[in-house]
Amino acid sequence: MGALDKVEIKKLTKRYGTERALGGVNLELAAGKMTALLGHNGAGKTTLLGIVSTLVRATDGTVTYVSSGAPVEGEHVRRQIGMLAHSSLCYAELSAVENLALTAGLYEVDGSPEAITAMLDRVGLEPKARDRAARTYSRGMLQRLALARALLTKPSLVLLDEPFTGLDRGGALALGEQLGILRDAGAIVVVVTHDLEAIAGRTDHVAILRRGQLVFEERGSYSYEQLKDVYHRFAN
C-alpha cells in the first residue's frame, strides 16, 4: 500500500446535537496539489479536517481515499496521514528526540538518531533544546516539533490546522517552503489558515467554507491580493 492519489469528499455532513458544523460538503483533493481551506471561526474547517483524518465520525456522507486507483481504508489510510492540529500531539514529559522516536516506532519508519536529527534540522528546532522535555518549549518551538512529528512519517496526505500560529516570520516562511516541497513531491496538502500572506502564491486550490457550506472553490494559483479578495467576498 502506497501513497494516496486522491481523497473524495462527498456530501459530508456533521451535526453536533442540533448544531450543524458541516452541511453536505463535496470536495476533491488531489496528489501534488495544495488546498487552502479558508473560512471564519466556526465555519467547520477543523471539523472537516477531523473527519478526513478519520478521528471524527461523519453524521452523513463519505470520504474515499484512493491509492493506486483503488480505495483504501483503516490503518492504510492512517499510515499516509501527517497531521498538524491545534495542539502539538506530543508528550510534554518527553523530549523532542523521544517524541519523534516514539512516532517512528508506531509508524515503523526510520527512527535512528541521524534521521531524527535531520528532521529536527529541517523544521529548525534549536539543537540545545532537543533533549529537553517538550514541556519547557516555547509556543513556536512546540509548533516546530509538531511539524517534525507530522513530516517524519513521510505522509502523502498532510493536514495542517493553523500551522502558522506561534511561528515567527522566518518560521512561517520556512514552513510555507516546506509545504511547497511536500506538494512538489506529490503529497496532498491541505492547509487551514487565517494567514493568507503565508500561503499566497503557493496554493493550487482554494476552498472557502461558510457555516458548514462550501461557498467557493477554484483551482489555480492565487496571489495575496486575490486571496484577500475572494475571502472577503465569500467568507462573510
Partner: protein
C-alpha cells in the same frame, strides 16, 4: 503479533513518562496508604473484627487509589491531545487500548502491593499467609480494574465532569470484581483458610477479566471516535 508489539510500545511509553515524573505512582501510593492509615484509626484492632473487615478495606483502598491513577493516566493523554496521535497511528486501535490498560494494571498492582503490607502491619493481620495466592489475586484484580477502567476513562476523555462520572459509572460494573476480591481475601485470612472458596473466587475473577477484556476490545474503537 503486531498488536502486542505496538501495545507494548504504548505501555512502555506510559511507564517511561511515569518513571520520569513518578507523579501517578506517588499520588496513588500516598492516597492508598492514607486510606489504610485512616482505617487503622477508625476501627478497633480486635482480631475477629479485623479479620472480617480487612478484605473489604484492602479492596476499597485499591479501588479508590486505582481510580485516582486511572484518571491521571488518561488526563495525560489529553494534555496535548496525544490520545488523537495514538488513534491516528497506523496501528490497530486495539493496541492503544491494550497498551494503556497494561500500563495501568502495573500501577494498580504496585499500589495494591503498598496497601497490603501496610494493612497487615497496622491492623496486625496475617495477609501474607499465602503469598503466591495473594499475588495472583491482586494481579487478576489489577488487570480487571485497569481493563474496565481504561474503556470508560477513554470514553469520558472529552467529557467535562469526567472526574465525577468515572467512579459513578465504573464502580457498579466493578462490583463483581470487588465481591470476588473480597471473598477470596476473606477465605485466605480466615482462621481456617477455605481453599475451595479461595479458588472458586480466583477462578471467577479470571473469567470476569476474560469476559470484560473481550468486551472492551470489541467496543473500544467505537467509543473513542468522536
Amino acid at each position: 503479533m503486531s498488536v502486542l508489539r505496538h501495545a507494548a510500545r504504548v505501555a512502555w511509553k506510559d511507564l517511561r513518562i511515569e518513571l520520569r515524573s513518578k507523579e501517578i505512582v506517588y499520588t496513588m501510593a500516598f492516597f492508598g496508604a492514607l486510606i489504610v492509615v485512616v482505617y487503622s484509626f477508625a476501627f478497633p484492632v480486635k482480631p475477629d473484627l479485623v479479620r472480617a473487615a480487612v478484605p473489604g478495606m484492602l479492596w476499597v483502598a485499591i479501588a479508590f487509589a486505582g481510580t485516582v491513577g486511572l484518571g491521571r493516566a488518561f488526563d495525560r493523554e489529553r494534555e496535548n491531545d496525544t490520545m488523537r496521535a495514538l488513534l491516528l497511528a497506523p496501528i490497530p486501535r486495539l493496541a492503544v487500548f491494550l497498551g494503556k490498560a497494561a500500563a495501568i494494571s502495573l500501577l494498580v498492582l504496585l499500589v495494591a502491593l503498598v496497601c497490603a503490607p501496610l494493612l497487615a502491619l497496622l491492623l496486625d493481620v496475617d495477609l501474607f499467609a499465602m503469598p503466591a495466592e495473594l499475588l495472583l489475586l491482586l494481579v487478576l484484580g489489577a488487570i480487571g480494574f485497569a481493563n474496565v477502567g481504561s474503556v470508560f476513562a477513554a470514553t469520558l476523555l472529552k467529557v467535562r465532569s469526567r472526574d465525577v462520572l468515572l467512579p459513578v459509572i465504573l464502580y457498579p460494573i466493578l462490583i463483581p470484581l470487588f465481591v470476588a476480591g473480597t471473598s477470596a481475601t476473606e477465605a485466605m485470612i480466615a482462621v481456617k483458610p477455605d481453599l475451595d472458596k479461595l479458588w472458586y473466587w480466583i477462578g471467577f475473577l479470571g473469567i470476569y477479566d476474560a469476559v470484560f477484556l473481550v468486551l472492551s476490545m470489541w467496543v473500544f474503537e467505537a467509543l473513542v471516535i468522536e
